[in-house]
């Protein structure tokens, strides 16, 4: 549960996801409805000049959002977004972290802004995100 008064610089509990398998990519395609073949069809990826399929950015995006919702609760989320700064590859193990970077009042609520990062096992950053949550 969120502290009602988290200090700027507070680290959120991190989480890990993966390693991302081809089965994960197929399941995310089915669950999300995004059937873009570049993520699930090796023949299509090769014809597109790539050595392999790669993970849906929105798979990592959804995992990254969990850092915030497991800390603040899903009903407290006001904004969430991320920039896809590098491609998540098959077999990547993602570590997702978050940190409180700002406190402010808006729409009658006390809110916190969270900086979020997804990093692969070799230190490569894949997503840089931000979220805003309403504090309890």
């Amino acid at each position: 549960m969120t502290s009602p008064d988290p200090a700027i610089g507070t680290d959120l509990p991190e989480l890990q996801y993966g390693p991302v398998s081809r089965a994960t990519l197929a399941l995310y395609a089915g669950a999300s409805g995004d059937h873009n073949p570049i993520h699930i069809d090796l023949d299509f990826a090769k014809k597109s000049g790539l050595p392999d399929v790669f993970a849906q950015g929105m798979l990592s995006f959804g995992v990254l959002s969990r850092v915030v919702t497991q800390w603040a609760g899903g009903a407290q989320l006001r904004e969430f977004g991320a920039r896809f700064v590098s491609i998540t590859q098959v077999h990547d193990l993602l570590t997702c972290t978050g940190k409180v970077i700002e406190r402010f009042d808006q729409d009658g609520e006390r809110r916190a802004r969270i900086e979020l990062i997804a990093t692969a096992q070799d230190g490569r950053q894949t997503l840089l995100g931000q979220a805003v949550v309403a504090l309890p």
Binding site: A31, L77, G81
Partner: protein
């Protein structure tokens, strides 16, 4: 070509004449089983997204959609548009999936979306621009998810790109 110019990119694949166009709203139903499947794949742990009894005990009418569930709603809307022979955003703007990447995705939430809801999705083509001397071209799309009684529940802003290098 300078960075950020709106001028046409000779290598570009996007249909830049669609700038400013809107895709008419279409209504989709939020299914509980789909929320559960989506939550399971992402490893969701918040009972608001996974446990109907816990969600109801916390005062919610049903499971809520996780933060990135907009992807599912959009896919459902696009499926329905295809059945009706109406254009979907990806086709309208000329996405080529061989070269398409996702640059950025931003959501703001005005209210939770629940299993059992019927929500309307609409999308607008906001802008096109280039970077790296035309080696990458970008499109910005904005969408709204609206409930007939509860108003706008989600606003999305998405940036997609083609790698043209």
């Amino acid at each position: 070509m300078t960075e950020g110019t709106a001028a046409a990119n000779p290598k570009g694949l996007f249909r830049r004449d669609t700038k400013g166009e809107s895709i008419a709203p279409i209504t989709v139903r939020v299914e509980r089983g789909r929320i559960q499947f989506f939550s399971q794949v992402l490893g969701e742990g918040d009972p608001l997204f996974t446990d109907v009894a816990a969600a109801r005990a916390a005062g919610h009418p049903d499971l809520a959609a996780p933060p990135s569930f907009y992807m599912v709603l959009e896919a459902l809307a696009d499926d329905e548009r295809r059945r009706r022979g109406e254009p979907v955003a990806a086709a309208l703007i000329g996405c080529d999936f061989r070269y398409l990447l996702h640059g950025d995705e931003q959501y703001s939430y005005d209210g939770l979306i629940y299993a059992g809801d019927e929500v309307a999705l609409s999308t607008r083509v906001v802008d096109f621009f280039d970077k790296k001397g035309g080696a990458m071209e970008f499109v910005v799309l904005e969408s709204l998810v609206t409930h007939v009684d509860r108003g706008v529940l989600l606003r999305s802003k998405r940036t997609l790109l083609h790698r043209l290098g």
